[in-house]
Amino acid sequence: MKGCHWARKNLGALLTNELSPQEEKSLLHHLQECPSCAAELKEFQKIFEALDSWKEIIEKEEEKIDWSSFPWQTTRLIKAKAKKKQASKQDKWPGKLRLWFPRPLWVGLFLGVVIGALSMLFFRPQLIQRQKEEAPFNFPPSMLTQIEQNLAREETKDYLEKSQLVFLEFLQLPSDQAQRFWKDKLSSQEIQNLLLKKKYLNSQLDDLRMARVKAICDQIEFLIYELIRVSEGFSNEDVIQLQKFIQEKQLLLKINLIKKELEESEV
């Protein structure tokens, strides 16, 4: 004989005549033997009756509805919905945009990025501006000064070298040719460039506080101008005397020393 567990599970099937003849026989036999299961069956019968009465209520409720027009209304609603769905498929969002744009997560992320960027522009514009300003020069100021100094030194060295060559040329010339040397030089491009370079160097030497260098450069400039001015009326003797004077004053040597100092950056 099958146990109470099986019997109770099949009480509902017994009450609705869904058991096979053999199962029914077996269950009825069990109910005769087991008062507990038999009592359970009686309780279930009461509930079945209660549920049947509830069914009547639902059927009464069902009768209140106009079922003849309901299918037509529902069909119309379904067709309208299908039309709407089809229209939404051909909406304004083209192709790929339609795939991701209506998704709230993507929209949220997109808006977050846009708002973040805009708020950064609004609250920290000086940051972006500063970056813009500083962008072409990423060197510290001390380094820039150093570069300027080096450039000025190079320019000065060049000026001194060219001046030295001019004086050397003058000293080596025989007196008759040396008489016309400065007059000829004045019109030459070489001496004009030299004098122009000196003007350019003035401001740089002042800024960089290279006083000794500036002094010698000034002397050279002054000397050149004086020589050009007075050289026209010179006799051979005057020229020789002038050449001796320049040699005695050791101008070329001084220029050399300054050049060396500049090279060693000791000025």
Binding site: L11, G12, I47, A50, S53, I58, W67, L77
Partner: protein, 192 residues
């Protein structure tokens, strides 16, 4: 009505095939056949007429949308009730997640009080209590009771609709009846 529906079983299948082929008039006829059956299920599940009518409409909408999934070998009624079952459970979950359903007003003590003070003298007075008692069951137990007692489905059919074994359906039915008995015990004895 019930016999008429069973006679329509074959024609219902034909109607679905016609609907698959694009004949929208077939839907109208199909609704006529099954609308009340779905209503009974939904009304018993929610105990609310408007909610039940919404479920009926939504069920047929889903039939229209999923008509391509229907296979000719399938039992039409089981397929349809499965759709209705899913809609009922979805709506139930939606309701319970959005707001708690009102507390069961006829708790065991209240029912006992009502039985003792003689306020439950008639069978009709028990009916709303049954509706409320059903709300206390789990959705699966409730569906088994409704399909069994309101729609008159067999255990085998219920198993198809719920997608579970027939033995499990019987167990669920037994548990549901026991729970109903526990809830309705104070009043059941007073009803004549």
């Amino acid at each position: 009505m019930k016999s008429k529906e069973w006679q329509n079983e074959y024609s219902a299948q034909d109607l679905l095939v016609q609907l698959q082929e694009g004949d929208e008039e077939a839907l109208n006829l199909f609704i006529q056949i099954y609308q009340q059956k779905i209503f009974r299920l939904a009304y018993a599940f929610f105990g609310d007429r408007e909610e039940a009518l919404d479920v009926v409409q939504e069920t047929f909408m889903r039939v229209y949308e999923k008509i391509s999934h229907f296979q000719k070998t399938e039992n039409v009624q089981s397929w349809l009730l499965k759709i209705a079952r899913n809609i009922c459970i979805d709506r139930y979950r939606h309701q319970t997640s959005k707001k708690r359903r009102p507390e069961f007003p006829f708790g065991e003590r209240n029912m006992a009080e009502m039985a003792n003070d003689g306020s439950l003298e008639k069978q009709e007075e028990l009916q709303p209590l049954i509706a409320r008692a059903l709300e206390e069951l789990t959705p699966r137990q409730r569906l088994v009771v409704i399909l069994k007692h309101m729609n008159g489905s067999k255990f085998e059919e219920i198993a198809q609709v719920l997608g579970i074994a027939e033995g499990t359906v019987k167990s669920l039915h037994f548990k549901a009846l026991r729970n109903l008995r526990r809830i309705l015990k104070p009043v059941l004895g007073r009803i004549t």
